[in-house]
């Protein structure tokens, strides 16, 4: 069997296990939560409904069945691609997720790229001369940001740039009151910029510290010592050996950071009232929209998994030990 096929097979198996585990966990959690699906459905009309009517609704939804039977019925629908209808939006869950994801994608992609590249660059600069002023500045910055919650950074930036300086809008993905046709790309970018910056500067910390540490390790390696014996300067070492060898672990880290990015986006979108997937998550949770919430849980699991798989693939392309080693046994 070719190497890539066993790789794909392994990945697929892992994805299926992951989804099954997510289904069981999230179903159990929701069952244990105080959310009552009937109450959530009825909402404010609660007082107008008699206990008999409630029982009827429950029976129609199969809520009188034992939990395991309900789980199996639910899982069967999921497997068939039916995620149900969102209670707050009153539209199919998949439609909402698709819409919101596109809005979030720009935000997350920007933040992902900027934090990755900036973090890598800062880590290289710091790691090339450990103990230097620049290194200490980068480390200070990274430690502070690594320990500040992203919603707090978002609030600070919002106060400074939107409320104080009035450079950036206070909320939303486009100016309020405009029809969708009237919104230009400039509008969108203007609204994207602050949330994206927030997510980026928070994400930089991890990457910078990790890259710095790896570069220091590379500079202490046998091959770096040999390069020095050949007369290489630190600049030469970083350029020819550092960048490449540090890039490999950085790719993995950046792939793994998707889950954090997702989590960060939830909070940041909430602060900026940015109508993305994160904002929808908070709404769904606050207003007991179970179908939407479960849909998002599944979607994010698949999303993070896809990110990690892509990082794995990139790693295999970059690392000759895997790329060539797999081709010539």
């Amino acid at each position: 069997m070719p190497e890539w096929m066993s790789f794909a097979g392994r990945k697929l198996l892992r994805l299926i296990t992951l989804l099954v585990a997510v289904a069981i966990f999230s179903y159990t959690l929701i069952s244990l939560s105080p959310i009552d699906p009937v109450d959530a459905y009825i909402g404010a009309d609660m007082l107008l409904i008699s206990p008999e009517q409630r029982a009827q609704i429950a029976a129609r939804w199969g809520l009188d069945q034992p939990p395991l039977a309900r789980f199996i019925a639910w899982a069967r629908e999921l497997a068939g691609g039916n995620f149900g209808t969102s209670l707050i939006f009153n539209r199919p869950v998949l439609e909402i997720i698709g819409e919101r994801f596109i809005a979030s994608l720009g935000l997350m992609a920007t933040a992902w790229l900027v934090s990755g590249l900036l973090g890598y660059a800062l880590g290289i600069l710091a790691g090339a001369r450990p103990g230097s002023l620049l290194d200490r500045a980068v480390r200070l910055y990274a430690y502070i940001l690594a320990s500040s919650p992203s919603f707090w950074v978002a609030l600070l930036l919002l106060m400074a740039f939107s409320v104080g300086l009035r450079w950036t809008p206070i909320c939303c993905a486009s100016p309020p009151g405009l029809l969708p046709e009237e919104v230009t790309l400039a509008h969108r970018l203007h609204h994207l910029i602050l949330p994206a910056i927030t997510l980026s500067i928070v994400g930089v910390a991890n990457m910078a510290l990790h890259t710095r540490q790896k570069l220091i390790e590379v500079l202490e390696s046998d091959y770096a010592l040999f390069a020095r014996a050949q007369g290489a300067t630190t600049r030469d070492l970083v350029r020819h050996h550092g960048l490449r060898n540090v890039a490999l672990p950085a790719i993995t880290l950046q792939g793994a950071s998707l889950s954090e990015l997702f989590g960060g986006a939830v909070l940041v979108e909430q602060v900026f009232t940015y109508p993305g997937l994160g904002e929808a998550t908070v709404q769904a949770a606050l207003r007991s929209d179970v179908p939407l919430l479960l849909g998002i849980v599944f979607f994010s699991a698949i999303f993070v998994f896809a990110g990690n798989t892509l990082a794995d693939l990139a790693y295999r392309l970059v690392d000759p030990r895997i790329r060539i080693g797999a081709a010539t046994p």
């Binding site: 040999f226 007369g231 020819h240 000759p320 030990r321």
Partner: protein, 309 residues
């Protein structure tokens, strides 16, 4: 070409309770290498003799301190001079492919070594190709990564990195570690050839037999000192021409010389005896030996640190 006298290498280490301590690994090392000559430093594995290479190249770690004197081409080898000369006039042949970047094709690494050694960028490719040809490496080998090359090929690549830069002094650190006999012969042949071509070769090894096959002079390293420097031809017969009891014991311990083992172990760097470092294992030891470290003295065309030699 190279003269090392009374070299000392010590490290500042932190022991329990953050107490600073100095650990002297090389206490007194002398060696002289002339152009056209292969000199071997022979000592037990892990006795710190590789630090000599690092000391000459100025790549000791930061917590290391250097004493004694090193001169190269008649002038003291200061740290600034080491930095200017390494790769250009003095080159290292490292022990294993671990000294190569795992992610870079070997040809590229030899080319980098050439550039670092002062070969102009325009001609670097030709220089690399020529050195590959000289060491019987196929041009395609340049595209291989270190994990793909075999033991023998790795040796040739490592030698290539050292010779592309026109260095005058080559330091081969443990050039024959666990290699196939044919590869050992080939590697030693390369060193001899380089010396015959006018270069000075310093070979650091634990393998006395390999050393004797190519070296003109052998310096014997024991507990941080060179106890003897002897012409290779003195290693003959029952070792009568040898000067130091340790050298003689080494010689007799060889399989070809009767395999006579030497009991005991070298003293640890932090527990050196006050007198002769070999006193605890020496068959000729007397009370006088334990009073002071015997200084190096000239004897029959070599040097020795033994009062009874």
């Amino acid at each position: 070409m190279l003269q090392v006298q009374g070299l000392q290498v010590s490290f500042t280490v932190y022991t329990q309770g953050l107490r600073q301590r100095r650990l002297t690994v090389i206490t007194d090392l002398d060696v002289t290498v002339r152009a056209g000559e292969v000199v071997a430093i022979v000592g037990a594995s892990g006795s710190g003799k590789s630090l000599l290479a690092h000391a000459i190249l100025g790549i000791l770690p930061h917590n290391a301190e250097l004493g004694g004197s090193i001169s190269f081409q008649g002038k003291p080898l200061t740290q600034a001079r080491k930095e200017a000369l390494r790769g250009r006039a003095i080159a290292l042949i490292p022990q294993t492919v671990a000294a190569l970047d795992p992610l870079m094709p070997v040809g590229e690494q030899v080319r980098l070594a050439a550039l670092r050694g002062g070969v102009p960028a325009a001609g670097a490719r030709e220089v690399v190709a020529a050195s590959f040809a000289r060491y019987g490496l196929a041009p395609e080998a340049a595209r291989l990564h270190p994990f793909q090359v075999s033991g023998g090929m790795a040796r040739r690549v490592l030698v290539s990195t050292a010779v592309v830069g026109q260095a005058r002094l080559l330091i081969a650190d443990e050039p024959t570690p666990g290699l196939h006999p044919e590869v050992v012969t080939e590697t030693l042949g390369h060193l001899r050839e380089l010396a015959d071509g006018g270069k000075a070769v310093l070979m650091i090894t634990h393998d006395i037999e390999a050393a004797l096959r190519v070296a003109d002079t052998v310096a014997v390293f024991y507990a941080g000192t060179t106890v003897e420097q002897a012409p290779a031809r003195d290693f003959a017969g029952g070792g009568e021409a040898l000067r130091h009891p340790y050298t003689r014991a080494l010689w007799r311990a060889l399989p070809s010389q009767g395999f006579v083992p030497l009991p005991g172990a070298q003293p640890a760097p932090d527990a050196l005896p006050p007198g002769c470092l070999f006193a605890d294992r020496c068959p000729l030891v007397t009370a006088a030996c334990r009073v002071a470290r015997p200084p190096a003295r000239e004897l029959r065309g070599g040097t020795v640190r033994c009062i009874h030699a």
